[in-house]
């Protein structure tokens, strides 16, 4: 056992809270990406600008989660600090495209 494994064995991680936190992040991502789609549709964004809007919004949500949920200490709640920035970023993309298309069509009546 090397030093890292040993440390992990002495201070184990709780898989249940990891799962719970992953679920929380996933839920926030999917709900917000739906609303991002609505906004992108209302703004009438097209092609690349829409996807840029999605990634910008996702980054904004990551920042909010970093500040409000993890209180600036993501390692307390995730295995690595980058999980809160990159985790599940593509989970809401299909929902985003759906509501984007829907509202793009609705607004441009």
């Amino acid at each position: 056992m090397d030093e890292k494994e040993r440390k992990q064995a002495i201070y184990p991680l709780s898989t249940e809270s990891l799962q719970q936190n992953g679920k929380t992040v996933y839920y926030i991502r999917s709900v917000t990406s739906t609303i991002f789609g609505v906004s992108a549709g209302i703004l009438g964004l097209e092609s690349y600008y829409g996807f840029l809007f999605y990634f910008g919004g996702t980054a904004f949500v990551s920042l909010l989660m970093f500040l409000l949920l993890a209180r600036g200490q993501p390692t307390e709640y995730f295995t690595s600090a980058k999980d809160i920035w990159t985790g599940n970023t593509l989970a809401g993309l299909s929902s985003f495209v759906l509501t984007w298309t829907l509202f793009y069509g609705l607004v441009d009546a």
Partner: protein, 111 residues
């Protein structure tokens, strides 16, 4: 969901609805006017939409379930304080167990 996050979310949805309706009316107006039909959405609608979106994200993150500490020690400590220790089954073991009887049962099941 706390009161603040619910209020913020509802407010943002109202704003978003208003922005969407304005954009809809605007596109109607353009079609009837037929002057410069390639005008984009006016600035106030853009601002309203973006503010509503940001508010919605804020409300959702604020109202999300509290994250749980990933360190097993801290997590178990929190649970134990609520009286839901993950090791409760070890702490409330029966003091006496009739092993002979259980063995007999096992042996008869094996046959």
């Amino acid at each position: 969901m706390s009161f603040v996050s619910t209020t913020v979310t509802v407010l943002s949805l109202l704003l978003l609805f208003h922005a969407g309706y304005s954009a809809y009316e605007f596109s109607h107006y353009l079609k009837h006017l037929t002057v410069n039909s390639d005008a984009t959405v006016p600035l106030d609608i853009i601002a309203e939409t973006i503010v509503a979106t940001a508010l919605f994200a804020f409300g959702q993150v604020l109202g999300a379930k509290q994250l749980e500490p990933v360190s097993f020690a801290k997590w178990a400590k929190g649970l134990e304080r609520e009286g839901k220790s993950p090791f409760a089954f070890l702490e409330r073991r029966p003091g006496y167990m009739n092993v002979t009887k259980l063995r007999d049962e096992y042996a008869s099941a094996k046959k």
